[in-house]
């Protein structure tokens, strides 16, 4: 762990921060320290607590326990506005500014210089130009914000933060929508601000960028502090294993090798060079019937983006897709469904379940949509199907008419699975299917996947739990930073190899 910092260099100190919500302890006695003139990265997988920590810091949430000291003074901000006044500014991934207003106005909004109550526009323009100069930007401040690229918009957001006299700048996933040049420009500004003594918190999923810009990194996992490290002395593989929670796995007893796939079978799905700007770099992919292909990588590496392209939710800009040898254009989910595809999304609340409808209605929805509105499944048939899957997947519900929104997360996921299984698909894309499911149910789902595979289904299995990916898949495609970095098969499919592929073999063992 890092050595104790001399106190005059400490800008922000959070000690023992805890925050709980009904059913989940988001933060458990987390410490977080940022020094003056430092870029400090905050990393962790889903549910690690990064965004909760920041929201506690900026007053969106109130902490349950712990202490926050800024510049030697204890603080307890009750709202983002108060936090901003204290000198804490956040720039979010979705640039929270007003797109139709001008750049200058966005920088000064809420604090416009006035005379006799009337706004002085020239003063605003001057102040905006000065603020932008601090981030090395010289653009026309009168143009609407929406006409600027996302990269520029982020700079404007940073300029606004500086104009509010921020002492600590929090950048929440700032590089997700930027290309390489824009990232460099952002980093040079960040370095300049660091040189001026600001503290900068940098939240990102991109390992390469983190190593390039951050001085120290704090790793969170499952709401707890794993540790604070200097990036210079932290090997990548170690960082990855800290985040995922796996210690180095020596060659242990080889896991049960999954049955070898039948030789010579043409792939059911064959994809060449599929890609979309900002989502995933062009890559190849193939899945055969009766095969489970795993997609592994850290959060933000592009896994869900691949799934969305394959299911027709997003249009691919490059690449060619063949199903059973036939070229197809997957321009919509309906098209994909007609090819026999099925997809359980990662964000099941927003994209998966219909919360106010019953389990029965949720389960038969895709099947019914495929049949059309006029060939309605009779109520008895619907109940049959619903009951069948409730039993098969062991969905814990008082009955098929239970409102799905009231079911636990795990059972909601099972309802989603049931929906797609009811359509008897040929390709099943599962994005984090076991997230939020208890251990027993997880085992059931994994058994089910193997059973489906044995029946001849092609399955794309996306998960951030390496253990699971290894257990379930016969081949694994590894993604990092929105690009494919490796494809493993047979004996190579083990956690250590996957982690090394993600980390990029750079720092050796």
């Amino acid at each position: 762990m890092g050595q104790e910092a001399p106190t005059e260099r400490v800008l922000l100190e959070m000690r023992g921060i805890s925050k709980g919500f009904p059913g989940v302890q988001a933060l458990d006695a987390v410490d977080f320290t940022v020094r003056r003139g430092e870029v400090h990265a905050l990393m962790g997988e889903n549910g690690a607590g990064k965004s909760t920590l920041i929201k506690v810091l900026t007053g969106v949430y109130r902490r349950d326990a712990g202490r926050v000291v800024l510049d030697g003074r204890p603080i307890d901000p009750r709202s983002p506005k108060v936090a901003e006044a204290l000198g804490l500014s956040t720039v979010y991934q979705e640039v929270n500014l007003i797109p139709h207003l001008s750049v200058a106005e966005n920088i000064c909004l809420g604090r416009q210089p006035t005379r006799f109550g009337l706004i002085r526009w020239r003063a605003i323009a001057r102040r905006a130009v000065e603020a932008l100069a601090r981030v090395d930007l010289a653009i026309d401040v009168a143009q609407p914000l929406s006409s600027c690229s996302i990269a520029i918009q982020q700079m404007v957001a940073i300029a606004r933060a500086l104009d509010v006299s921020a002492r600590l700048l929090i950048l929440d996933e700032p590089t997700s929508s930027l290309d390489a040049t824009e990232v460099e420009e952002l980093f040079s500004v960040v370095r300049k601000l660091r040189g001026q003594g600001m503290g900068i918190v940098f939240i990102t999923h991109f390992l390469d960028q983190m190593y390039e810009i951050a001085d120290r990194v704090t790793v969170l996992r499952d709401g707890r502090l794993v540790g604070e490290y200097e990036t210079a002395g932290l090997p990548r593989v170690r960082l990855v294993s800290l985040m995922i929670g796996k210690e180095y796995v020596e060659a242990e007893a080889a896991p049960k090798a999954p049955p070898p796939k039948a030789a010579g079978k043409p792939p059911f799905l064959e994809v060449r060079g599929i890609g979309r700007k900002g989502a995933i770099a062009p890559m190849d992919l193939a899945i055969a019937e009766g095969e489970v292909l795993g997609l592994a990588g850290l959060l933000g590496s592009g896994r869900t983006e691949v799934a969305r392209l394959l299911f027709g939710i997003d249009r691919a800009e490059t690449g060619e897709v063949r199903v059973g040898g036939r070229p197809v254009v997957l321009h919509s989910p309906r098209r994909a469904i007609r090819e026999g595809f099925a997809f359980t999304p990662e964000n099941r609340k927003v994209e998966g379940i219909i919360p106010n409808l019953s389990a029965r209605e949720n389960i038969v929805l895709a099947l019914q949509a495929n049949r059309g509105a006029w060939r309605a499944l009779p109520r008895r048939r619907q109940l049959e199907i619903a009951d069948r899957f409730i039993r098969a997947l062991n969905i814990k519900t008082p009955g098929p008419e239970q409102t799905v929104g009231n079911l636990s997360g795990g059972n909601q996921q099972k309802v989603l699975l049931a929906r797609w299984l009811a359509t008897e698909p040929r390709l099943l894309i599962l994005d984090e299917p076991t997230r939020g499911i208890d251990v027993g149910a997880k085992a059931e789902v994994e058994k089910l996947i193997q059973a489906l595979r044995a029946e001849g289904l092609a399955i794309l299995f996306i998960s951030s739990e390496l253990e699971e990916v290894v257990r379930t898949s016969q081949r694994v495609i590894v993604l990092r930073d929105r690009a494919k970095v490796g494809e493993l098969a047979g004996r190579e499919v083990d956690e250590r190899t996957i982690m090394r592929t993600i980390a990029g073999h750079e720092h050796g063992d």
């Binding site: 007003i98 139709h100 207003l101 106005e105 609407p144 606004r160």
Partner: protein, 328 residues
């Protein structure tokens, strides 16, 4: 040399173009269309709609909607007429009371919308019913106003003489004054800019620390005030109050706002555009009157088609600008 207009002014330019084209067409097609008298009555007749539409513009810019406009105008008119005619109150006092009531009524609707998250559509609908009914509670029939203030001051003293026998009616002056004030509020006060921000992206505006609740309540109060002011102007124009009048005025106001280039989703638009929209509505009516053969219902069809055209234009422009940003 090509003239490049910043995209945000394109709808405004389109509205101006339509206004000019309609006016020119009228002048070419009919004698006397281009006369001063026609111009004066165009502004004077539509002044009360104009004032109401200015208030509606702010509400729509903030991302809301106000269906109570017509009802409040009618209520205000009969309130003033009754106070002056039956209760012996001086017109100025009656007007002051009416304006205050309008603002309070609007603030009340705004509070319901903000504090309880009720949809603006429903709350202002209820407001419309309420104000309409209350107008009839005050007085069942229309009531003329014969106070000296109205007959002499408004009609004669305050009308600006132009050439010949033509006067610019006081109603037109009210409209211009309201327009200037509205532009001032929209572009030179923090409240006005907060309205634009609120309509542009409410979530971002909250994160930026802007006073969202206060802005919402104030914007509906402003709209209520403008509707009441429109009622006052209406009494100048009709020299009477009528609880059954102005049915559907809110639709004309909304149409003016949309034709004037303001997005119904909020965040984009100009008060000046609404003023032009009001004049366009008036021009269409005048053109049809001059035509003589076409009946007045063509106004409604024309207005409907114009609104559609402008909405499609807005959709087209925003889709185009989204594509150009993505391509960068």
């Amino acid at each position: 040399m090509t003239l490049r207009l910043p995209p945000k002014y394109v709808p405004l330019a389109a509205t101006a173009a339509v206004l000019v084209v309609l006016y020119a067409a009228g002048c070419i097609a009919y004698d006397n269309f281009g006369s001063l008298r026609v111009l004066v009555s165009l502004v004077g007749d539509n002044a009360f709609l104009g004032v109401a539409a200015l208030g509606a513009t702010f509400v729509i810019l903030s991302g809301g909607i106000d269906l109570s406009v017509g009802a409040v105008v009618a209520f205000t008119s009969i309130l003033i007429a009754t106070l002056v005619g039956r209760c012996g109150v001086h017109p100025l006092a009656a007007m002051a009371l009416a304006l205050a009531l309008g603002a309070v009524f609007g603030a009340g609707m705004g509070a319901l919308i903000h504090c309880f998250g009720l949809p603006p559509f429903l709350v202002t609908l209820a407001g419309m019913f309420f104000a309409r009914g209350m107008g009839f509670v005050i007085h069942e029939q229309s009531l003329g106003i014969k106070h000296a203030f109205y007959v002499e001051r408004i009609n004669q003293d305050l009308a600006i003489p132009l050439t010949g026998h033509i006067h610019l009616p006081f109603t037109a002056l009210c409209f211009f004054a309201a327009l200037v004030l509205a532009i001032g509020i929209a572009h030179y006060t923090r409240f006005g800019r907060n309205v634009y921000a609120l309509g542009g992206d409410e979530q971002s505006a909250t994160l930026m620390g802007l006073p969202i609740g206060r802005t919402k309540v104030l914007v509906y109060a402003l709209a209520g005030f403008c509707s009441a002011l429109a009622g006052v102007v209406y009494t100048f124009y009709m020299q009477s109050g009528n609880p059954a009048g102005c049915v559907g005025l809110e639709l004309d106001a909304i149409a003016s706002v949309v034709i004037g280039g303001t997005l119904l989703a909020g965040g984009v638009g100009f008060v000046a555009g609404t003023a032009m929209g009001v004049l366009i509505l008036g021009l269409i009516q005048t053109l049809i009157t001059f035509q003589g053969n076409l009946n007045t219902w063509w106004t409604k069809i024309a207005v409907g088609l114009l609104v559609l055209a402008f909405i499609l234009l807005q959709n087209f422009i925003s889709a185009a600008s989204r594509r150009s940003v993505a391509a960068r």
